[in-house]
């Protein structure tokens, strides 16, 4: 009851904020292109999502300085879905119907995306989703600028298996859809590679879990059989801080049992003393430490925008950077902001990413990305220790799950389907 009450309060506060925002800038509405920003500014996910809101504001400001798009100014409409998943759907409806935005950049957790999907398809809106996720989805109205499992999880497991000769696996995650699906994919992938069921340990914890003593101790025991052991972590949000603290305190060093994380980036590490964590790994498509001219310029702009010389950048920020630049190109190419025209124009577009390569938007609404594996350093940055040669195209439907092996997504004619079975040649229409 209390929780519900709290959500109502925050919802009220948020809608009030939006209302006042709209009142202050009504005169431009005829000439501007509106961009909705749907990121939680309060609640558990605020820690990660606030940064993305600021990134979008910076990108929009930069584009406006260059003269906007199609000769019109861009205008940001910021709403706060308050880490409350159903509120994400409500706010999406509000953004499209009331604020008449042309495109939405937003969401972080998969739960929030799943709650937005029915609304965005019904109202034929456009969503750019910037975070690595579990795949098994391709909506006509969503562009996935983060990594699919084959662009993060699978290469990371390959690295552990080939380079570090890991034989025993702990799959630890937060208890919700992304870790559960990812671990399902990984489990079947590992088993296909000949790993015995006894050599895989799976563990789930609630959001915001803080008492990691017994789990870390279990991992230690699991890893003491003489076979090389690694932890694949899909632990999300601020639960990572006490997890890594406990690892450090119990003396689990990266040389004995390395932890490879899919949701821990520079931002999350800036909250911990990283000295005991040196050598633990993370798999992403971007690291702040990558040396390229684009990256240097981006970080400089970001630190100037936030007026904080120590502010870090991270992978989902790069995803928004790519997504935003592609959207601008697509609108210029289509000559309009209408959803269908932009969607068509997006496919096949190329734009430079921040690590010195090129991102390509594919027919399944996923990007080509390089896969980087980095080790945590003492200063809270990652040092790249391995990377794929060139980029890997994102796979919407995993090849490692029995149910989705034959399924592809292709939004160009003649297939035009997000869930197309290549064997039966049928479109199921079940896009997510």
């Amino acid at each position: 009851m209390f929780l519900k009450k709290k959500f109502q309060y925050t919802a009220f506060a948020a809608s009030f904020a939006v209302a006042s925002f709209c009142i202050s800038t009504p005169t431009f509405s005829a000439e501007t292109i509106k961009i909705g920003i749907l990121h939680s500014l309060s609640g558990t996910m605020a820690i990660s999502e606030t940064t993305l809101k600021d990134t979008m504001l910076m990108l929009i400001e930069g584009q406006n300085k260059k003269g906007g798009v199609l000769g019109k100014k861009l205008e940001a409409v910021v709403v706060d879905p308050a880490s409350n998943w159903p509120l994400f759907a409500e706010k999406t409806r509000e953004l499209i119907e009331k604020d008449k935005v042309d495109v939405i950049f937003g969401c972080w957790t998969s739960v929030s995306r799943k709650s937005v999907l029915p609304v965005i398809e019904e109202l034929n809106g456009l969503l750019f989703y910037p975070v690595q996720y579990e795949g098994e989805e391709s909506s006509k109205n969503v562009f996935y600028t983060g990594a699919a499992p084959n662009q993060q999880a699978i290469p990371a497991v390959d690295y552990l298996m080939d380079e570090l000769e890991v034989e025993r696996w702990v799959l630890a995650g937060t208890d919700y859809v992304y870790p559960r699906t990812t671990n399902k994919i990984l489990e079947s992938y590992l088993k296909a590679k000949g790993v015995a069921a006894a050599d895989i340990m799976i563990n789930y914890t609630p959001f915001g879990h803080s008492d990691w003593q017994s789990i870390v101790s279990d991992i230690k025991k699991f890893g003491s059989t003489g076979k090389k052991t690694a932890v694949v972590s899909t632990i999300n949000g601020d639960a990572n801080v006490p997890f890594y603290k406990e690892l450090g305190n119990q003396g689990v060093s990266a040389e004995d049992i390395p932890v490879v994380a899919f949701s821990v980036g520079e931002e999350e590490l800036s909250g911990i003393d990283t000295k005991p964590l040196v050598g633990h790994l993370a798999a992403w498509n971007y690291f702040m430490s990558v040396e390229s001219d684009e990256n240097e310029a981006f970080i400089e702009k970001w630190q100037a925008f936030t007026k904080d010389k120590k502010r870090v950048s991270n992978d989902p920020m790069e995803a928004h950077y790519i997504g935003f630049n592609m959207w601008v190109d697509a609108v210029e190419k289509a000559g309009t902001t209408a959803t269908d025209a932009v969607e068509k124009a997006m496919i096949g577009l190329k734009t430079p990413n921040l690590t010195g390569g090129t991102a390509v938007m594919h027919k399944n609404h996923h990007l080509s990305k390089p896969v980087l594996i980095g080790e945590i350093q003492e200063d809270g940055q990652f040092e790249v220790v391995w990377e794929t040669e060139g980029t890997v195209p994102g796979d919407a439907w995993s090849d490692h799950l029995a149910g989705s092996k034959d399924i592809i997504a292709d939004w160009t004619a003649p297939i035009k389907c997000g869930n197309y079975n290549t064997k039966t040649k049928k479109c199921s229409g079940q896009n997510f």
């Binding site: 309060s42 570090l164 003489g226 601020d238 080790e375």
Partner: protein
């Protein structure tokens, strides 16, 4: 013979001897110098080999470095582990670095000479991966073996036990002859046994199995288990060896199980101490005064943020900051508590529903206040060095210091509060007011004043809990919400108004939770505990230790 000869002959022979001697002695320094310079150049060459991007090449350079007998090797390897070893991008000279106000102070690797300061762009770090780090630690461990301090030698041997080989067996045997420290000797014996268990000689194997049966090292267990279980290749293993291995394995597993039980018990106590700290303030405001204070969690949060602010004020003394934060958090949270009592709660005594809503509103206000003042992002509260790491009792049991101190701290807070309530004048007045307000008033006690201070005391203790929690969990605006449910649970379970009940309730819930967790998982364990409490409250609505007599009314 010389003495028997003539004096002139004597002289000549001395001269000849001198010449011969001189001829003999002369080349010595030359040879020495030549050897030195060869060593110097090879050392230099190997060090420059480190300045490469490829990890494979670096591994080769490290192998070469491990064969160089030079005291500088240790310094270089340590600098590498601490990521202080860089090279100049211009000419690949390898240098030590020290960060001084955003710039990098360089020192030569060969002779520690200062090379001035440069910007970050001019230099590149010699990066490591896990394989290389492991390699370096092994080389360092070998260097440590000849250290005069027994503790250092012990750590070196321990490191080498992780990966034994023919080479370590040789090293250990050499070392064993001159070693005199018991702990080091024991570790060396384990190391020798780890290699000898793979010997082809049955009696050597049996001896090794016996030695390893005493060890709790994971490697030892794995090696013994390999001989005991050996399902597929039973014919290859001598029957005696197998039986001995099985016996040793049983012994190892028995003691491992025992230590696992102790460890679980400690985890339970540790979780219990967190629950105790969170609930103890509430057992005063809710238990003694009867105020349903939904803002209790936020008072904990204020204590945690006080720790953060104290650390900002004394950045150079993190070790002390946590100690200073305890009274500071008590005062800050206590004052906020008194303000809440004077401003809101005193108008609502005897109206629990209104109190609940009003304090819930206050909790939202406090959360938003913190969000506006400190940002919605979590703040970093550093852990002092004396609270990090763990106390290794043996290879199977280690207790982390932060948890250990918090268990002790929670008990200290509990007993201090107990003594304060039982022995002090204020404690007496407080109990008098809560038991019979009218009577206390007529005895000359200012009941409103006592109310405010009692609430302040409960809030202050919540603040102190915040200091402890800042060491375990994230310090953010939502910190309090995570603990409010747990706090009420403990107080209701233990019996409202009874401090001892809170103590027993907290520790038993903590221990039950930790014993359930391994087979139910963290999510289900929590649910089971909640279900258990609901059922328990059904049959004993007043909790474990209900108040008896007149105080109960």
């Amino acid at each position: 013979m010389l003495q028997n000869s003539g004096s002139s002959f004597k002289l000549i022979s001395i001269a000849i001897l001198t010449v011969i001697l001189a001829l003999f002695l002369l080349p010595l320094p030359i040879v020495q110098a030549a050897q030195d310079s060869a060593k110097q150049s090879s050392f230099e060459q190997i060090v420059t080999l480190l300045a490469q991007k490829s990890f494979k090449e670096k591994a080769k350079a490290l192998d070469a470095l491990s064969h160089v007998d030079d005291e500088r090797v240790e310094r270089i390897l340590n600098a590498m582990l601490e990521s202080r070893l860089y090279y100049l991008k211009s000419d690949k000279t390898v240098v030590f670095t020290e960060k001084v106000d955003g710039l990098y102070q360089l020192n030569a690797v060969l002779n520690q000479e200062s090379l001035g300061t440069v910007k970050k762009k001019k230099i590149k770090k010699i990066s490591l991966n896990n394989k290389l780090r492991k390699k370096i630690r092994l080389i360092l461990a070998k260097i440590k073996l000849s250290h005069p301090d027994a503790a250092v030698r012990y750590s070196g041997v321990k490191e080498l036990l992780k990966k034994t080989s023919a080479e370590t067996l040789f090293l250990f045997r050499e070392l064993r002859i001159q070693e005199n420290d018991d702990a080091v000797l024991e570790a060396i014996d384990t190391g020798i046994a780890l290699s000898e268990i793979e010997s082809t000689d049955v009696s050597t194997q049996l001896d090794a199995i016996k030695v390893l049966g005493e060890s709790l090292l994971p490697v030892a267990r794995a090696k013994v288990a390999a001989l005991a279980v050996a399902a597929g290749n039973a014919e290859n293993i001598d029957l005696k060896v197998r039986q001995a291995a099985e016996k040793s394995l049983k012994k190892i597993d028995g003691s491992l199980e025992f230590y696992a039980f102790i460890e679980k018990l400690f985890f339970g106590l540790s979780l219990g101490s967190v629950l105790l700290l969170a609930a103890i303030g509430l057992s005063i405001t809710f238990g003694v005064m009867g105020v349903i204070n939904m803002a209790h969690g936020e008072l904990i949060m204020i204590g945690a943020y006080t720790t953060y602010v104290i650390q900002l004020l004394m950045p150079n003394n993190i070790g002390m900051s946590v100690i200073v934060a305890i009274p500071a958090a008590f005062i800050v949270a206590g004052l906020v508590g008194i303000a809440i009592e004077r401003g809101v709660i005193r108008f609502l005594y005897g109206r629990p529903l209104e109190t609940l809503l009003a304090t819930f509103g206050i909790s939202l206000i406090l959360q938003q206040l913190v969000r506006s003042v400190f940002s919605p992002l979590n703040r970093i509260v550093e852990t002092p060095a004396w609270m990090s790491g763990s106390w290794e009792i043996n290879s199977a049991l280690a207790i982390t210091y932060n948890r250990l101190y918090i268990v002790i701290f929670s008990l200290m807070v509990f007993f201090a509060l107990l003594v304060f309530l039982k022995k002090s004048v204020f404690g007496l007045q407080m109990r008098a007011v809560t038991q019979n307000r009218q009577m206390a008033k007529s005895m000359g006690i200012r009941s409103t004043w006592v109310d405010a201070l009692t609430f302040g005391l409960g809030s202050g203790i919540a603040g102190v809990a915040g200091v402890a929690l800042s060491q375990l969990t994230n310090v953010g605006p939502n910190l309090g919400q995570a603990y409010i449910i747990d706090s009420f649970m403990v107080v209701v379970f233990g019996g409202v108004g009874n401090l001892w009940g809170t103590l027993v309730g907290a520790f038993s819930l903590g221990i039950v939770n930790k014993f359930l967790e391994p087979w139910a998982g963290a999510v289900l364990a929590k649910i089971l505990v909640l279900v258990f409490i609901i059922l328990f409250i059904q049959s004993r609505p007043k909790g474990l230790f209900p108040q008896k007599g007149r105080a109960a009314e």
